[in-house]
């Protein structure tokens, strides 16, 4: 038969309209174009002009239609009518729902606002939700940072005044040596992928991935180092050891931009030992070699000593911080031979990596012909770059030694002189900020009063024991114990402890738990099985639930919905206004500030409301001052978009920086512009203000940049931001633990603070491992590490309701090295029991060589509770899928009063400290364990189709493929 070409329409009409917005299939905030045809979303692609993703789009973003059309979408407010957890709900009106919420919340606010715990999950409106909590008057507020990456944020902000991902990025175009530590592959995903694609093509550039697991990014690395989990800090300190030993550090950079030359008081046993020596005005001192005296270390042109012991005017002795640092890491305990076994990376490789770092930083230095002016007004003709860059995230943060490990990485960057320089790591506005930023957490004892807002925001940065939120006895004041002696620098709160503590009434019972977009009865909690019990546990005396009221807002029928008393249904991301604000987490790049909005590209077809609209409405109904006019009427009757335009944090500064001023001609600062949102819509839903080249580098010391930043209120003033190689706030805690000062920890915290508060980065084995090893009888009982990796095509629990994404990751396996499998007589597809000190699960295995020999891992959050997300109860996510969460206790091993399974400095959830043992399971049903009763369908969700024919509606009218069909009509 001859070729018979059909007539193909190669220019079909694609869309009636293209609307710009911001993706929300994960937290990355990429720009999208939504193509609308016949009032429906035809497809979504990346916005080529957008600074984050530059036209590309990941699998999640491209699957947005399926999230928008998910049959798990909630359809209206619900009130629980059966026992909690039974899934028996009654559909109610918004009036009734808001009335119930106001009843509970109003009662609390009139008596004790601290009875409200308000925690939000993957919230991108924290400047609003935080302010709402403050206005309500509760200190018990946080977003999900405590269970995510607060170690990275806190270590970064206390050390360099910025942090990985959110507040800084790699100079992908110029870096010569890129090290990536433990990165979750669904985060910052398009910028990282764009960057890797670029740098891999350069002959002179090397990419090293340090990760126990060789998936995605690590698969294309020039070198993969399958490190033992939790030992990254030791590895980095060994690199530092090598660099110091070989005199390969950038002393000029350290003297100019860090506190390396600051004098540290050397008065062992005294109350000021280890503090920074200061003059009478509080300026830090350095030893000026020219004048031979201690001088204000902030002055330009001084010639500070980096070593030596000096006598201060008052007779005290002091030594430069640099010398203390050098002394520590030159110690033989950090020699490559000493750490190789623990890290699982041989000494020769550690040496080689150190050599390569030094080579890239110092032999391949970049000189750009970009003159710039520093904070002291001195002009520099060239911009010097040390083209070594680092990105680190979850694999560092989710360990109980993550804060110090992350600080060690920043110290390495400082020593190489590679922060905010060409080829290095570069800040994104509004960062850098002073390290730490000057805001302190509100919520001390007297701060919480009936009918009264807090005097500040609930989250901030403590600078010493005096800033803790503790009661007169030294006990915690927040429900999550953040900012207590147990977790002093818990800058993002500790969401993973809220349910446990509220259930235990520790330090006090609460009345209402208000959650937004956080799947706390499933994959977002440790110890999931008992967490579900805590949510349903009754107080025998009162006959009430131990947590009396639970209000939950989500767009989808997640596992948590079933445990709510009141469900406030949210919209999908294509149906709402949102804001990626300079007050929160904007979309800036190293080249300049940028923020963005989400606009409703289609209208909801259900009785749902954007959570932020509801929160603002509740604020007005409750009479919270910031949400009401003096007359008592609502201040933002137009809801969130009204707030975005008209709210001012201080004069001329609001949630959105673009097109301010009455005429929309001001940027950054200006009066509210009633047409501001339209201006964003007209400009592809984002605003950016590229900095002049002369302000794009050395921003921590760049005079004109700092003046601009101060005028935008990003920093308190235009002073130089000095990186804190040596962290004085940590030393203040150490001194308190030694008995100095007015603020003293309870005895039970003293030893812990002595151990873990060190002004220079330290390494210690993860706490769970330490405690298990200390149990003499159990030594070696849990020899393996277990952790999760995030699949690039999924975002936490959200992906499984997505008809397309769940075809890619519909079930998860327990991955392990073939040698480990062989040791246990295991082959692919066998089932195993995995046991921790806390619980046991059953899972199916698969082998891979790209895995640390002592580590087993699986994909995160694929396992689902049967019946959740409107999946068929028989779906693979519930049958074969599993969570490691069951194995992870929210408390450390031990008896009696136990600490949280968290970093002792920041309270960061230590998900990846998990130790396990493995044994082959007998042949049986292919079913993971544990299994729970299937959740009942949530009323109002639509029927899930057996066949999904999305797209046939866009075929030409009359096409036979548009007609309804019977399934499987062909053989």
């Amino acid at each position: 038969m001859a070729t018979t070409q059909e007539r193909v329409d190669t220019s079909p009409k694609v869309s009636d309209e293209v609307k710009y917005s911001t993706c929300y299939m994960c937290a990355c905030r990429c720009g999208i174009r939504v193509h609308i045809r016949d009032g429906q979303v035809r497809y979504i692609d990346g916005n080529p002009d957008h600074p984050v993703n530059r036209g590309v789009l990941c699998a999640k973003g491209s699957a947005g239609i399926m999230q928008h059309l998910s049959p798990a979408r909630l359809s209206g407010p619900l009130k629980r009518v059966g026992p909690r957890g039974s899934g028996e709900f009654e559909a109610i009106s918004w009036d009734e729902a808001l009335g119930i919420a106001c009843g509970w919340l109003g009662q609390i606010r009139r008596t004790d606002p601290g009875q409200l715990a308000f925690f939000t999950g993957r919230d991108q409106s924290q400047s609003l939700t935080g302010m709402w909590a403050a206005e309500f008057g509760t200190r018990n507020y946080a977003a999900h940072g405590g269970l995510c990456s607060v170690n990275m944020a806190a270590a970064g902000l206390y050390t360099i005044g910025g942090s990985f991902w959110e507040f800084g990025e790699v100079d992908w175009a110029r870096t010569r040596y890129f090290m990536m530590f433990g990165v979750a592959e669904d985060h910052d995903s398009n910028p990282i992928k764009i960057g890797l694609g670029t740098l891999k093509g350069r002959e002179d550039t090397k990419f090293v991935s340090i990760n126990p697991v060789r998936t995605g990014y690590s698969a294309i690395a020039d070198e993969w180092l399958g490190i033992r989990p939790g030992t990254d800090g030791l590895f980095v300190m060994s690199l530092i050891h090598q660099l110091l030993n070989n005199q390969k550090v950038d002393l000029d950079y350290l003297v100019r931009y860090t506190n390396a030359p600051w004098l540290v008081i050397n008065q062992p046993g005294q109350a000021d030992d280890g503090l920074i020596a200061r003059d009478s005005d509080g300026h830090p001192l350095a030893w000026d070699k020219t004048s031979g005296q201690a001088v204000n270390a902030l002055l330009p042109e001084i010639t500070p000593a980096l070593a030596g012991t000096y006598m201060l005017a008052d007779g005290r002795q002091a030594r430069p911080a640099f010398e203390l640092m050098a002394e520590r890491y030159l110690d033989e305990q950090f020699a490559p031979e000493k750490v190789e076994q623990q890290c699982g990376i041989d000494a020769q490789t550690i040496r080689r990596i150190a050599n390569e770092l030094a080579h890239a930083a110092f032999e391949q230095a970049i000189e750009l012909d970009i003159p710039w002016t520093d904070w002291a007004g001195r002009r520099h003709e060239k911009t010097i770059g040390r083209p070594v860059s680092v990105h680190a995230m979850r694999g560092i943060s989710a360990h109980s030694n993550g804060f110090h490990t992350c600080r060690a990485i920043h110290v390495l960057q400082m020593l190489l002189g590679s922060i905010d320089c060409p080829g290095g790591f570069r800040y994104k506005a509004p960062f850098p900020k002073p390290a730490p930023p000057p805001t302190r957490p509100a919520g001390k004892c007297d701060d919480v009063q009936a009918n009264t807002p807090l005097p500040g925001m609930p989250l901030g940065f403590v600078s010493g024991p005096e800033d803790l939120l503790v009661d007169d006895d030294g006990g915690p004041r927040r429900i999550d114990h953040a900012y207590s002696w147990a977790y002093p620098l818990a800058a993002h709160g500790m969401m993973h402890m809220v349910i446990h503590n509220a259930w235990a009434g520790d330090p006090y019972p609460i009345n209402t738990l208000f959650l937004y977009m956080a799947n706390m009865s499933w994959n977002s909690s440790m110890n999931t099985a008992q967490t579900m019990q805590m949510l349903t546990d009754m107080d025998e005396a009162s006959g009430e639930y131990k947590i009396p009221h639970i209000i939950y807002s989500d767009a989808y029928a997640s596992e948590m919905v079933s445990y709510a008393d009141l469900v406030l249904p949210d919209t999908t991301y294509l149906e709402r206004w949102d804001c990626m604000s300079m007050l929160d987490r904007p979309i800036s790049s190293a080249e300049g500030p940028a923020d963005a909005i989400r606009q409703p590209v289609v209208q909801p077809d259900r009785d749902v409301r954007a959570f932020q609209d509801v929160l603002i409405d509740l604020g007005a109904r409750l009479g919270l001052p910031a949400f009401t006019n003096p007359s008592g009427t609502a201040r933002y009757p137009g809801g969130y978009p009204d707030y975005l335009v008209n709210h001012e944090r201080c004069e001329g500064i609001g949630p959105l920086s673009g097109w301010r001023g009455k005429n929309g001609d001001q940027h950054g600062r200006g009066e509210p512009n009633p047409d501001q949102l339209q201006a964003y819509v007209d400009n592809q839903c984002f605003w950016q203000d590229p900095l002049p080249e002369s302000q794009q580098y050395y921003k921590h010391a760049n005079g004109p940049y700092l003046e601009y930043a101060a005028s935008m209120e990003w920093v308190p003033d235009a002073s130089q931001i000095i990186m804190q190689l040596y962290s004085e706030p940590l030393q203040k805690f150490a001194l308190a633990a030694l008995g100095h000062g007015d603020f003293q920890p309870l005895e039970k915290y003293r030893e812990r603070i002595k151990l873990y508060f060190d002004p220079l980065p330290i390494w210690y084995p993860p706490l769970e491992e330490q405690l298990l090893n200390n149990r003499g009888d159990q030594h070696g009982a849990f020899p393996l590490h277990a952790l999760t990796q995030r699949p690039m095509a999924m975002y936490h629990s959200w992906g499984s309701q997505n008809a397309w994404l769940r075809q890619i990751y519909g079930t998860n396996r327990l991955y392990m090295h073939p040698d480990l499998a062989a040791e246990h007589d295991l082959e692919d597809d066998d089932w195993v029991y995995l046991e921790s000190h806390h619980a046991r699960i059953k899972a199916q295995i698969r082998t891979m060589t790209g895995c640390n020999r002592d580590t087993v891992w699986t994909w995160n959050a694929i396992g689902k509770r049967k019946g959740a997300w409107n999946l068929d109860p028989n779906a693979s996510e519930g049958r074969e899928g599993f969570l490691l969460n069951h194995l992870i206790s929210e408390l450390l091993p031990g008896k009696g009063k136990r600490f949280s399974n968290s970093d002792p400095v920041t309270g960061q959830a230590a998900w990846f400290d998990l130790k396990v043992r493995l044994r082959k399971a007998e042949a049986g049903e292919a079913l993971s364990e544990p299994q729970f009763e299937a959740l009942s369908p949530v009323p109002g969700v639509q029927d899930r189709p057996d066949v999904l024919r999305f797209g046939q509606q866009f075929l030409p009218a009359g096409s036979w493929r548009r007609k309804p069909k019977k399934r499987n009509r062909a053989p």
Partner: protein, 250 residues
């Protein structure tokens, strides 16, 4: 059986760079998204919310581990779609003429109106590139986004296959592989691109670029030896303290 055009004006195809493919599935899903409402609409999904979901996908990503036999293994992400062969067995085997290769650009397509769903083509294709839509009763496959690449309703920059546009690492390239001077042919030449299973004789148009040599051995010209630390030395000497004792200015 169906004949092939004696020659095609162009040989449009894709080149996939295995050196930078991170296996993120962006190509698969953007392809699914565009094509679900495109020329071959719909790309039906059976059991979309139940056990064993089974959908039509034109582009799937596989992950392999390779082993050189000497203990060196590597993870390779491998996207797989129709290769638009110059001599496609799937076309010649078609009993109705529904499968065909376009004369103007070499794209292999299926005419859904004449496809009888006999699946001979999927048996003939050694690359597993054909997808049977049992709901429609017809075979479907990668169209190289024939409804995008010439589409005058799209901005010119967007007239590339959806997978190419979406790929975050820019591992995917589109162009005329029949023109040795084209950018894409030059890229293949430069990087030592290869065909899949050339021995089968179907002459795939699509090409793959191999992973580059990993820079996993010493790249530094510096070979640092530990400098004597001199920590106990007099600061005036050349040791560590001597080194940091140099005059530095803030």
């Amino acid at each position: 059986m169906t004949g092939l055009p004696p020659s095609t004006g162009k040989k449009l195809g894709l080149v996939t760079d295995l050196d930078i493919c991170v296996g993120c599935h962006a190509c698969s899903v953007s392809c699914k998204e565009w094509n679900a409402g495109g020329h071959s609409a719909p790309l039906t999904d059976l059991n979309p919310y139940a056990h064993d979901p089974l959908g039509v996908w034109f582009n799937r990503v596989h992950v392999y581990e390779t082993d050189d036999g000497e203990g060196h293994t590597q993870t390779v992400n491998f996207p797989r779609s129709c290769l638009h062969c110059e001599e496609p067995a799937c076309v010649t085997v078609c009993p109705t003429g529904a499968s065909y290769k376009r004369e103007e650009d070499g794209i292999v397509l299926i005419n859904a109106d004449t496809c009888i769903g006999c699946k001979l083509c999927s048996w003939a294709c050694p690359y597993g590139a054909r997808e049977f839509d049992s709901d429609d009763g017809v075979m479907k496959k990668c169209t190289l986004c024939v409804d995008r690449i010439y589409n005058e309703n799209l901005p010119e920059d967007d007239r590339v296959p959806a997978c190419v546009q979406a790929c975050p690492t820019q591992a995917r390239h589109f162009g005329d592989l029949g023109d040795p001077a084209s950018d894409i042919s030059q890229l293949v030449e430069r990087r030592g691109g290869f065909s899949l299973m050339p021995e089968s004789g179907y002459k795939p148009v699509n090409q793959y670029l191999p992973p580059r040599q990993r820079k996993d051995q010493a790249v530094a010209t510096l070979d640092l030896q530990n400098v004597p630390s001199g920590r106990n030395d007099d600061p005036q000497t050349d040791g560590f303290l001597g080194w940091i004792d140099k005059m530095l200015s803030r």
